[in-house]
Symmetry: C2
Subunit: 265 residues, 2 copies
DNA sequence: AGCGGCCATTGACCCGAGTCAACGCGACGA
DNA sequence: TCGTCGCGTTGACTCGGGTCAATGGCCGCT
């Protein structure tokens, strides 16, 4: 999956060294292997590179660094210089922030094809970390701008992704502002399922790449409340759990109605 | 401010007719008056048109419709065809959604220069309505795309605005997910002040173009809780109210610390 | 096979914000 | 001038979700 970068050095299990720094200095072999590296990319059809032809893809490959990282690896921290933009080629990640007094919050989950770390500010307002084993591409902001000039279709695509991210974040605002705990959990499970379906996943069983604590931090709840809400949905027969990292939606219409906020009406 | 469109017909006080439909059929006089219409625009330095030269501005003026609208005028509704993009030239507006059971939520406030209604979907997920008397520009999505091709700098600017909106929305997610009622109100007042400062406003007194109910719907609270929080901040001597539509920040560092989430630590 | 750590679940109690209700005040029209 | 209406404020009570704590299952390690 990440052959072009070199295995051992890229896959790091929680060492203090940043994964991209670890890959620094390895032979980049610009231009070579672009086909093998990008052509078979898991995010090829949904991500930033979707509209690119073979030549542009080759150009892109030469400008980006790609690494495979372990679960729970930070990609960048809040306050870091926002000099790069990241795309998630494979796996799941989340954006987080910790408040001065220690409260922890997640502002969103990201799946294959999503972009991370694009901001108008000079530093990252949020940190990002992987939830699962993942493959990450990193581009320098200035190089990306240059790419935009060479391939206008790339800029158009980037704007689309940005708008999609905005829409998802707005949806999340609504959920945090007006939904109850159980509604939020229903909303989360449903949107996670839809995100996986958009990426080609079929069937009523989906991946759940998050612990109760992760979900709680995303939904503005505590892990106990999430656990109770999941149990309640299970007892109603609307969802089923398959181990700790997969779930099944057994009563989709009911779950959707709850997630949309059909309280009593 | 909106002379080119014609006064009487454009300023509507809560009639069922949509403001842009009311302006339909009026003489557009393409090309004329672009200088007077756009040159002195309140959002000229912060909005979408900021990087445009005189010629491009003229082009833009010919492609957009502009109306002045009364406070509390809906611009579009959730579910409407997302065929246009709106920019707020002057005044304040908010994006709202009403849940099936009647719960009302606002996902954001927008001020001069901000864009509204840009979404990857075919319909608007949220409605928009003015809070104050406002001036609105509307562009057809397809015409905007064509403009992007004629003026690449416009697309770059649009992407910047989109990223700014994303950053603001993410910040809002954090507030809703992890801040207490009083912290949220402090956060809101501070970000409203900062938004006005970014637009050139000076001094510790700022506009408050929202009722307690508006603020509550934005912050995921009730109007009573907002009122109590405002009173508490006033009693601490951190803010002062000037009538119903202006407020003063008298202890900015304290307010900022509270808004950032410095609970006990 | 036995042990220990991590994660999830469940229960009992508490608190911050929601709910319901009364009241004050300024704007506006009769 | 007075009555009314919309908005804001404040109080008393309720309740959803947070907090604290005990228990149990799964998995990897030895």
């Amino acid at each position: 999956m990440s052959r072009a970068v070199g295995r051992g050095a890229a896959v790091i299990e929680g060492r203090p060294l940043h994964p991209f720094d670890a890959a620094r200095g390895l032979p980049r072999r610009p231009g070579t292997g672009a086909a093998s590296r990008c052509q078979g990319c898991g995010a090829r059809s949904v991500g930033l590179c979707a509209p690119l032809g073979p030549a542009a893809l080759d150009d892109m490959a030469a400008e980006t660094e790609r690494v495979a990282v372990a679960p729970r690896t930070p990609l960048f921290h809040q306050g870091d210089d926002a000099s790069h933009v990241y795309t998630l080629a494979e796996g799941a990640a989340r954006l987080t922030r910790v408040l001065p007094d220690g409260r922890q919050a997640a502002i969103g989950f990201r799946l294959a094809g999503d972009i991370m770390g694009f901001t108008p500010a000079t530093e990252h307002a949020f940190g990002a970390e992987t939830l699962t084993r993942a493959t990450i591409c990193r581009v320098d902001r200035r190089r990306l701008d240059a790419m935009f000039r060479r391939h206008p279709v790339l800029e158009r695509r980037f704007l689309e992704l940005c708008a999609g991210e905005l829409a998802a974040t707005q949806d999340h605002v609504l959920a945090l502002g007006r939904l109850t705990a159980q509604e939020r959990v229903a909303h989360f499970l449903l949107s996670l399922a839809e995100a996986q379906e958009r990426r080609g996943r079929r069937g009523p069983v989906f991946d759940l790449p998050a612990t109760r604590t992760d979900i709680a931090e995303l939904l503005g709840l505590t892990l106990e409340t999430v656990s109770r809400a999941v149990s309640a949905l299970r007892k109603r027969g609307w969802i089923k759990l398959h181990g700790l990292s997969a779930f099944e939606i057994t009563e989709r219409p009911s779950l959707a109605a709850l997630a949309a906020g059909e309280g009593g009406a």
